[in-house]
Symmetry: C2
Subunit: 355 residues, 2 copies
């Protein structure tokens, strides 16, 4: 049993939230992106015969799936089980999540006229099951709950491409050809993400993570022009809530400084660069999260342990560090390895943490 | 008609080879990765009913397909039409290229025992049609011909994953778990690539490009440990031939210095970072190639022109610059746009080139 299962009367004093705020911690907190997912047999069991989006709409399932990794792995934070495209469907975009494929949009956005297909999200009416699940969860959880949403660029890419894309070519062509239309599209998506995140925090989430999964497809110049304004709108709109705001995308080594400037308190660093170099690019005044390569978790334990220690060593002396993978847990990961990583992070960091 | 169609009696004095050698040029040379491909209607026509691998094995088709973009676009170099997995099939690995999917390996490599499935490549016997196509091409071409091969990491990933992979998780698990087996595997793949490249140069290719398409999946530390030795073996084995050696992979912003250290004369920079920043990371003593975002070619012409000029502006004063895209031509690209890019690169750089 890791330290995270010790019930703290005040979550605000938890290692996870303290690290996000760059305050001294008794040990480095750890959670894993996609910790609630296919790597866990109990997840595969409970999802049997239930589609992804249906499972996200059932508070009983969301609660159970969100709790599974907390129970099994002893992580220091839970993350709400959901999907970034859920609010899009809730405002009327025809889409589904196809197993092995990802989100598929029935009628992709092709031009400015499509932007009006996005109406504002009214969380109480459109996604009542999300807040309900959050309320159920915070009664059960002894660790903070992280709410999340998809960032405007990533959501726009799904809408414009009609699904996952390797090149994001249509999305880029849209934004280059019609900057005003693009600004409007991403502003609407920002407002949807913001409404969703505010509702999650009001229901009890202690922190939020904004996933810009595909932002790494852009150069820093394009990110600054076409993405930063809308992402900044979201972070600014969360400021009054006082919860840590985490921001992550994969392949964002060139964007880390800008992702911090967008208004994040914690910037996720993927596995392509050392966490200390990532922190240098993020700049002072923000914590970092990361960054063990998820593929390393498939290696023999000595390799996993050495790489985990390397991340901790490099993170020593940083202003704030939340241990995580540098991308989501791979479905083929042995959960026992994840549990051992949690234990190792806790024990090693408790021994050496001086702050 | 671009300057590239002026027949020079000595290709060695061509703008392309001069730029690769960091010598003064009358204008910036330009070619496009995947210039011979689906963006050209004449390519789609000639490939109708002929599989990818079959077309690579027919010197008449290879010659015609390689010449198509030179005729239409006026580029300063041709690149042999082929595929990086061809030599693997030639040494007996069961694989095919499935349209819309990519290479599929019938029995993926799972452990050290599989390494013996790779015998050395004997170009004269295993891939005679490649040298034959090169010989036919150099008779026709007024611009240099670039030969190419796949780098060991990328080829190993196809063999281990059984095809294209988003995570390269099995490949990484293999190399972390069995470094000695991995070293042997990549050494054999290096020797296959080297034999293939040497045969192409002996038949008349004026330069070579080593594609490490997937190397960007690795951190610099992993690249240095698991990839650099085998890639270095290839470049060292080409040194006596005196032809420029180009090296490229996408998402390699963190690896550019190491890819130069591997022994490349020219390092390709993808579209994620400005070409001058790429050149800074590559370091002195090497030319760079790149880096217009292929997706930008789908935008209105004013955007394409502004971005082309931006690359040229940033490349001014670099030791050597070959204009290219930051990744392959997208199939949906209008060839007329590519032709206009070639003209713009030639005229703009001829006006401003001072070296």
């Amino acid at each position: 049993m890791g330290p995270s299962l010790i019930v703290t009367t005040d979550l605000n004093d938890s290692a996870f939230l303290r690290a996000c705020r760059r305050e001294p911690v008794p040990y480095t907190p750890v959670w894993f992106m996609r910790q609630a997912g296919r790597a866990l047999p109990e997840y595969r069991e409970i999802r049997r015969g239930v589609s992804m989006l249906d499972s996200c709409m059932r508070p009983d399932l969301v609660t159970e799936i969100t709790l599974q990794p907390v129970r099994r792995l002893g992580v220091d934070a839970a993350i709400l089980f959901s999907d970034i495209v859920l609010p899009l469907r809730a405002v009327g975009v025809g889409l589904d999540i196809v197993p092995g494929v990802g989100p598929v949009v029935a009628e992709p956005f092709r031009g400015p006229a499509d932007i009006d297909r996005l109406r504002p999200l009214e969380p109480d009416e459109d996604v009542p099951y999300v807040a309900e699940a959050v309320r159920l969860l915070v009664k059960e959880l002894a660790v903070p709950l992280i709410g999340f949403a998809g960032a405007p660029f990533t959501l726009a890419s799904y809408l414009v491409e009609g699904g996952a894309s390797k090149t994001h070519a249509r999305t880029k062509a849209f934004m280059y050809a019609d900057p005003a239309g693009w600004a409007l599209l991403t502003e609407r998506l920002a407002d949807i993400a913001l409404a969703s995140l505010r509702a999650q925090v009001h229901a009890g989430a202690s922190a939020v993570q904004l996933f810009d999964s595909w932002a790494g497809a852009l150069s820093a110049a394009d990110y600054a022009t076409y993405v930063l304004p809308a992402s900044r709108r979201i972070f600014a709109g969360l400021a009054d809530l006082g919860v840590p705001r985490i921001h992550f995308g994969v392949g964002t080594g060139e964007l880390l400084g800008l992702m911090g400037e967008a208004g994040a308190d914690v910037v996720g660093v993927d596995f392509h660069l050392p966490i200390d170099e990532g922190a240098r690019r993020v700049g002072p005044g923000r914590a970092v999260q990361g960054n063990l390569d998820p593929a390393a978790c498939l290696a023999p334990w000595e390799v996993v342990a050495a790489r985990t220690r390397d991340v901790l060593d490099r993170a020593k002396g940083l202003e704030g560090h939340v241990f995580n993978l540098g991308h989501g847990v791979l479905p083929e990961t042995d959960p026992d390895v994840l549990e051992r990583v949690v234990d190792l992070v806790h024990t090693e960091s408790a021994r050496t943490t001086t702050r």
